[in-house]
């Protein structure tokens, strides 16, 4: 059973007052997320990430298509008991303290008073809210609210947790702490579905990612799948190579760039063609020895930019 499954999930909004036109917020999203995965839902602003999360939380209803969490339709109470959700830029009842807020949310899950207190205290410790937990939330900074938001998303030890831009508003230490927390959740078997436009977070954390653009799924897969075939060159490190051999290789176009890393030792950037074996063979005949040969792959950022810039088409639908 998948943790999350969507089938042709679509959402249109009416935009405009006098002549409302349907605007495509999400277009036939079909996605599966397995249990225990850390799944990165990536895309630039306005790609449809938050719309998808709101559909999964049933804060909005789909125009067509369906979505399931843990094998049950979204919005089902039994599902709600097993999930956690951090919205983008969360806002809470600012007249409550952090402890009161967490205890209130815990009470909605039916926990007894002692259990509520214990959970609130443990989670506030985990997200790094100290003595401030007794202050009303109106006195909290954006980063502290984000931490409280993450704590409330975990109040019920969810099997699937949805985090919309979880690193937003956090300082570098806070980001690292939340990254570590997500990895801890993964180790405990929790499925983490998080949206982000910070690609380094996805590269660090995710087993699989989906890239969205203009309301459409551009691609989905494991990072290694996405980046494996995106080798754009080779890095060859050789020793015992003469300056003359290097100049000749450059003149032939076999070497794009060379960096001296020691006496007679160079890191060479080779193009995709000719094959690196041929260049290496030539260099070996000229007295060089192989130290290492590594493919140069696109980073996720390179891949992301290529994919997203390729997404075209209007998001306004034609009306009859």
């Amino acid at each position: 059973m998948d943790a999350i499954r969507t089938e042709a999930l679509t959402k249109h909004y009416k935009v405009g007052f006098w002549r409302p036109r349907p605007y495509l917020a999400l277009d036939r999203l079909t996605l599966q997320v397995s249990r225990g995965e850390v799944f990165g839902f990536l895309g630039p602003n306005g790609a449809g990430k938050t719309t998808t999360l709101k559909l999964l939380m049933q804060l909005i209803y789909p125009t067509s298509g369906r979505a399931e969490i843990l094998g049950r339709p979204v919005g089902d109470l039994s599902v709600k008991r097993r999930i956690g959700y951090l919205p983008e830029h969360p806002f809470f009842y600012d007249y409550l303290t952090a402890v009161e807020l967490l205890e209130y949310f815990a009470s909605l899950f039916g926990y007894a008073a002692a259990e509520r207190r214990a959970r609130a205290s443990r989670l506030l410790d985990e997200v790094g809210i100290g003595a401030e937990r007794r202050l009303q939330l109106r006195k909290f900074s954006k980063g502290m609210l984000q931490r409280v938001g993450i704590a409330q998303a975990l109040i019920n030890d969810p099997e699937v947790v949805f985090l919309d831009e979880p690193m937003s508003g956090l300082d570098p230490i806070g980001r690292r702490e939340i990254r570590e927390m997500i990895l801890r959740l993964r180790d405990q078997g929790t499925t983490v579905f998080f949206s982000s436009h910070v690609l380094s977070d996805a590269e660090t954390l995710c087993s699989r990612v989906a890239i969205m653009a203009k309301g459409r799924l551009v691609t989905a897969g494991t990072l290694s799948e996405m980046l494996a075939f995106q080798v754009r060159g080779w890095e060859l490190v050789v020793s015992g190579m003469s300056e003359a051999a290097l100049a000749a290789a450059k003149a032939r176009g076999d070497v794009l760039r060379a960096t001296a890393v020691g006496p007679g030792r160079f890191a060479l950037e080779l193009p995709l063609t000719p094959p690196p074996e041929r260049t290496l063979a030539t260099l070996v005949t000229q007295g060089a020895s192989l130290v290492s040969l590594t493919p140069i792959r696109d980073t996720l950022e390179d891949y992301f930019v290529k994919q997203v810039s390729g997404a075209t088409g209007s998001r306004f639908l034609e009306t009859a």
């Binding site: 909005i60 969360p90 009842y93 409550l96 909605l108």
Partner: protein, 268 residues
């Protein structure tokens, strides 16, 4: 139903922390200041005037709270996005809505109860300073328990106003909700005139329209027995019971409508 209670308690907590109950202090000040002033200006009628003023103040303070908090109950949650964290918790949308309603009704009941207690206290004190012959000549004792019938119907009226404000707040802005709720309250107080208007117009279409409006609009005038209780005129228990049944039925319909709209709404 447990979730409804939890949401209601949270609404009450918000009212307390946002100092809504300070209105009780304002009420007490108005009442005490008025009694001191009226005591000096009138002879023999001061207790009756305080009764009038006290019941009207309870109704007005309650009405202001019902409208101005009622219209923000849902709107504030959506506008500030606190609803995004709440609705994904194990609750149904109508539980949330009902909890919000019950929370404000709880606030109003506590508010009205404390104001009523203060009202009776002021009347008891005034009675102490009133000459015995004036007390004896009064149509009803100063602390007449019969006035509680008016208070009960004020609470019911406030419950209906709250339900209407909540209904409008599920789909419109606070300004429009306040306008519509206040408009219905005013129209509801002149409901009987609609029936009479229908009887005197020539056009059968207009007569039919006013007839429909009479039955559809809430009859707020029915909840107003303040004048009767102040003048010690009888208010039969059956009248209170029937009005209660009418009010509760209307509230159920309004909340059902609010729930239907709210359950289908997208929170963009």
């Amino acid at each position: 139903m447990k979730v409804v209670g939890l949401v209601a308690v949270n609404v009450f907590k918000e009212s307390v922390r946002d100092k809504v109950l300070y209105s009780i202090i304002a009420f007490a000040i108005v009442l005490i200041a008025s009694s001191l002033l009226i005591g000096n200006l009138t002879a023999g009628q001061d207790i009756k005037i305080i009764k009038d003023l006290g019941l009207a103040s309870i109704s007005m303070f309650g009405l202001l709270i019902a409208i101005f908090i009622g219209i923000g109950l849902v709107w504030k949650e959506v506008e500030k996005r606190s609803i995004y964290t709440l609705l994904p918790k194990p609750m149904r949308r109508h539980d949330f809505l009902l909890g919000k309603y019950c929370g404000l009704v709880l606030t109003l009941i506590i508010n009205v109860s404390v104001m009523t207690a203060a009202f009776y206290l002021v009347l008891a004190l005034m009675k102490q300073f009133e000459p015995a012959n004036i007390n004896a000549a009064a149509a009803a004792p100063a602390t007449d328990p019969g006035m509680l019938k008016a208070v009960v119907l004020i609470v019911l009226e406030l419950m209906l106003v709250t339900a209407i404000a909540l209904f409008f707040s599920t789909f419109s802005s606070p300004f429009l909700s306040a306008l519509l709720t206040a408009g219905l309250w005013v129209a509801g107080h002149f409901n009987a005139d609609l029936r009479n208007f229908g009887a005197v117009v020539q056009s059968p279409v207009l007569a039919q329209l006013t007839r429909v409006a009479y039955y559809v609009l809430p009859n707020f005038a029915a909840f107003d027995v303040k004048s009767q209780v102040v003048h010690a005129q009888p208010v039969p228990a059956s009248y209170v019971g029937l009005t209660f049944a009418y009010g509760l039925t209307y509230i159920v319909f309004v909340l059902f409508g609010a729930s239907l709209i709210f359950s289908r709404r997208d929170f963009k």
